[in-house]
């Protein structure tokens, strides 16, 4: 059995890398797959908090790669789901405590045991990013519909390609359907046009995500959450199923049509 290492990255901070990792990890486990989530944000770890597993940490990724601890000892078993594990980042060290080479060895080790290795990448393009992508087979780029986020995502895709990672998929996070309808939000089509990568899914803005993050329970566990539903669909796509996109941007508002006509006329 050989799994896939997927790095979840964005360049810009605060767009939902960690939330995406936690939700996809949980949703994939709910589909019966064995998943390990690796937090590479050394010094600023979050994934354990979002998963509600903070109080179970004894050893971390630095303990493992520097050889002091066995991998099995450091992996934290999720309290709710069978087959879901977390390898936490170290909180008191720096990004340089791990090298890309060590990370690659670690990923290859984890790949033997799990179907999916989800690597939560830190923001930025420095050592932490280089570490996170070094063992990856493919990448998920998370972006929100804002110009700055798309700009950074574009830079990230460029760096991924330069590192030889060519299977890069896009998740557009925190979209607000009403704003899209009004034409006040960046168009999904425009984002894909610039980034020219495959769209893996679109996640709507959802207050439940904030609540669930604070509670340490991923939104996919809440069946009433729209974001949770979107993540479950994305997980099924990652699992190899064909799942249709949520009908979000297909209904073009009358105002938008009007605007477009006006734009054409004024040219």
């Amino acid at each position: 059995m050989k799994g896939k290492v997927i790095v979840i990255t964005s360049g810009k901070g605060g767009v939902g890398k960690t939330t995406t990792t936690a939700n996809l990890g949980t949703a994939l486990t709910m589909l019966g797959r064995r998943v390990v989530m690796v937090d590479t944000d050394i010094g600023l770890r979050n994934l354990d908090v979002v998963m509600g597993l903070e109080n179970r940490i004894v050893f971390d990724i630095v303990d493992v790669v520097t050889g002091g601890t066995k991998l099995k000892q450091a992996l934290i078993k999720d309290k709710r789901f069978e087959g879901l594990y977390l390898l936490p980042a170290a909180q008191t060290k720096e990004k340089t405590a791990v090298s890309p080479h060590q990370m690659k060895t670690l990923c290859n080790e984890l790949k033997k045991e799990f179907d999916f290795v989800l690597v939560d990448c830190p923001a930025g393009i420095e050592q932490g990013f280089k570490n996170a992508i070094s063992g990856a087979d493919e990448a998920i780029v998370v972006a929100v519909p804002e110009v700055s986020s798309v700009r950074d995502a574009d830079g990230i895709v460029g760096l991924l390609e330069a590192a030889g990672l060519n299977k890069n998929q896009l998740i557009i996070n925190r979209i607000r359907p009403r704003m899209v309808k009004r034409g006040d939000m960046m168009d999904i089509e425009d984002m894909i046009d610039i980034l020219s990568v495959d769209l893996l899914g679109v996640v709507p803005e959802d207050e439940i995500v904030i609540v669930s993050t604070n509670k340490g329970e991923p939104a996919v566990m809440d069946t009433s959450s729209r974001a949770g539903d979107a993540y479950r669909r994305i997980a099924r796509r990652l699992n190899g199923e064909e799942v249709s996109m949520l009908p979000l941007n297909h209904s073009e508002g009358l105002m938008n049509k009007f605007r477009r006509m006006f734009k054409m006329a004024s040219r």
């Binding site: 700009r151 574009d154 610039i194 040219r267």
Partner: protein, 221 residues
């Protein structure tokens, strides 16, 4: 009219710097240094042919010029002298010194331009510099930079920064299937799209300098 004492031109795989014969050496050195600094780090690693014309250079002066170029990341490949005025002795073969008659000047700095093809989309943070022409088979995204000594041709959307004729040529043009750059430069002219609704033209367009201004028009061949 003020004549330029330092002229930089592109050539095959590098640049040619022509130094005028008049003026004192320190002044010339200062001019060369100013000119190179204006290029920022664009020229790092580029090979240089230094044409010193009729100027008489001592061994020490050659050495100083070489170090000045090195400070900017340039490699002095060849030194061309239009007379037998350069002290060749004890050069230790570090720089190839060529003497040639003035008549061949125009041939040496001829219009032979090389072109490179970039077969991918240039993304934010990526930058391409080439002394000749650049053809991009893909898009140039916002935050990416394409800088050419010659012309820039983008077979896709040009949304980033384009600089044609970066070594001074005002004849250079920027052509793109969709020309929508954040900033467009030709030689030392800098322009940007007007504020507000950018022209989202769907036809190929060309930017060039006409009577001292950068103008954009539909590409008609």
């Amino acid at each position: 009219m003020i004549t330029e004492d330092v002229v930089i031109r592109e050539s095959q795989g590098g640049i040619i710097i022509c130094l005028d014969s008049q003026g004192s050496f320190p002044a010339l050195k200062q001019q060369l240094s100013d000119k190179l600094e204006a290029f920022d780090d664009l020229l790092i690693g580029v090979q240089v042919v230094l044409d010193v014309g009729q100027r008489k250079l001592s061994k020490k002066e050659v050495h100083e010029l070489k170090n000045l170029l090195l400070d900017q990341g340039l490699h002095l490949k060849k030194l061309v002298s239009r007379g037998k005025n350069v002290d060749l002795k004890d050069n230790k073969g570090q720089v190839e010194v060529v003497s040639m008659p003035p008549a061949r000047l125009s041939q040496e700095v001829g219009t032979s331009e090389e072109t490179i093809l970039i077969k991918r989309t240039l993304r934010s943070g990526q930058r391409v510099f080439f002394p000749g022409n650049i053809v991009v088979l893909g898009d140039v995204n916002p935050g990416a930079e394409v800088i050419a000594g010659g012309n820039v041709l983008v077979m896709g959307s040009m949304r980033g920064l384009a600089h044609a004729g970066a070594l001074g040529s005002e004849q250079a043009v920027v052509v793109a299937f969709r020309l929508n750059p954040t900033q467009l430069r030709i030689a030392n002219h800098i322009t940007r799209a007007p504020e507000g609704q950018g022209s989202a033209g769907n036809d190929p367009e060309m930017a060039s300098i006409k009577s001292g201004k950068v103008i954009i028009e539909d590409l008609k061949l």
